[in-house]
Amino acid sequence: MAHIIARGVSIEFPLYHMGARSLKKRLLASSPLRMRSDDANRVVVSALRDLNFSITRGERVALIGHNGAGKTTLLRTLAGIYEPVAGELEVAGIIGQMIDPGAGLDMDATGRENIVLRGLYRGMGEREAQLLAEEVAEFSGLGEFLDVPVRNYSSGMTVRLSFAMATAIKPQVLLMDEWFLAGDADFMAKAEQRLGRLVEGADVLVLATHEMGIVRRWCTRAMRLDAGRVVADGPVEQILGPEPVAG
């Protein structure tokens, strides 16, 4: 059964390429609280600090907080990209991640080639990849542009292709960053429907966003991150307060 359990999870980014000692001293002295020297006397930024939570099947969790609070880092950690320096993490279920739309996109290759490449990234077989290609081609509505190098796409077209590829998954655990909010209005209507289906289909959703409207509409639980810590965690209404009356 899909679930996420984190016990004391911490992530630290070492700042290796900072150069001069004096710079290091200055940074540490002017002490943003998250920078410190670790045992090996390197400067590290604590991106996530001692996170404890568990997310069970059926929960739709919004990660909220300021820029740099650690939302995307947490998503990447859940996706298995960063290994925690402390703590224990377990994510059960097939993970689908929609963290960066441009990840793995080859700008010099055509749209169609990129779809094939995406299939390979996901370790798909011939048949699965074929299905992916058909589905993405249909949904993206790029038509003849599929045979044009992505470099020549407008930004809207690139988003459409990325979105179509990223959403052609059936994950049990869906990790999503808010980038998908870009795109023209016409496409967004179509996109929302598809996202809605994806979210419905997933057992667990973790979504990093600034849009409180989205949080209220899609999520059942909100976790507020600040400086790498969870400062509030609970049902959406409790964390955000009652919905403001329009007007």
Binding site: A79, A92, I94, D100, A103, G104, A109, V116
Partner: protein, 283 residues
């Protein structure tokens, strides 16, 4: 990443405990999954090559052309300097230089095997072995464009390797193993310490002159020949060159080359096991 007991054909899930990181099994799984995704590595290598020569008429064959010109001019010059006949010198030079170019290019690109894949490393939980395989495959593809030159030169001068020439194949295999190990080891070291790549560049330049690439070992008085075995580049070159030019290989060369490979892979693997989990923070 753990393969989980859920429906077939799927689940990637994460189980990690910092107190018990299970580095060895993760490293082994990385290698295994990396090889399972070799088609991806191949496709990426192919795209790299295509993108590098995008819009160029001759594409990677420019490399063939420049190697041909290099061979012709160096061949004429050095055969005169060394007072050898062209027939004696050029086949040697052709094989040596082409092999060296491959090796040197491979080492140089190994330094960026992970940093150049930064955008993927930080966005997707992909085995790092895929990036190393991509680097090795790309270099093999590039080197293959020079193969016709070797064949042409050997044919012109009537150097027929015969059956013992087949020994070049295990030689190439050993080169490939070293290339993979270098892509992981140098890729990681250079991601962590950005000064290493330029140092490697200088070392390769010195190695070019210290290794018998344009000069034949026979020019060295026999009492110093054993010194050559201390040069891993020499032994690796000789694995392929010996069978093609001199009919068969030298046992001492094979043994030392295998020894270097074992040490190289052991160091590479140890480093990979220990620091694999940190790569995402380094690139």
């Amino acid at each position: 990443m753990d393969a989980h007991v859920t429906p077939p054909g799927t689940p990637v899930s994460v189980r990690f405990n910092a107190a018990d990181p299970q580095r060895l099994s993760r490293a082994l799984r990385d290698l295994r999954q990396g090889f399972a995704q070799r088609r991806l590595a191949g496709a990426l290598a192919w795209l790299d090559l295509r993108n590098r020569y995008r819009g160029s008429v001759l594409g990677p064959f420019w490399l063939t052309l420049s190697t041909a010109v290099m061979l012709a001019s160096l061949g004429l010059l050095y055969s005169t300097l060394f007072q050898m006949s062209l027939a004696e010198y050029l086949p040697w030079l052709a094989v040596s230089l082409i092999l060296w170019n491959m090796l040197a290019q491979m080492v140089t690109e190994a330094c960026t095997s992970l940093t150049s894949a930064e955008s993927i490393v930080r966005q997707m939980p992909l085995p790092f072995t895929v990036h190393a395989l991509r680097c090795v495959t790309r270099n093999a593809l590039v080197a293959a464009h020079n193969l016709p030159l070797v064949v042409i030169v050997l044919l012109i001068f009537g150097v027929l390797p015969g059956w013992s020439g087949l020994l070049a194949l295990p030689g190439l295999l050993l080169l490939a193993v070293n290339a993979l190990s270098a892509s992981l080891l140098l890729g990681m070291v250079c991601a962590r310490f950005r000064d290493i790549a330029p140092i490697v560049g200088s070392v390769m330049q010195i190695a070019f002159f210290m290794t018998p690439v344009i000069w034949k070992p026979q020019l060295l008085s026999p009492e110093y020949h054993w010194l050559l075995l201390l040069n891993p580049f020499y032994t690796l070159l000789e694995l392929v060159r010996g069978p093609l030019i001199e009919g068969g290989g030298n046992l001492a060369v094979w043994l030392t080359a295998i020894g270097y490979t074992v040490v190289h892979c052991a160091v590479g693997f140890a480093f990979f096991v220990r620091f694999r989990g940190r790569v995402a923070f380094w690139v």
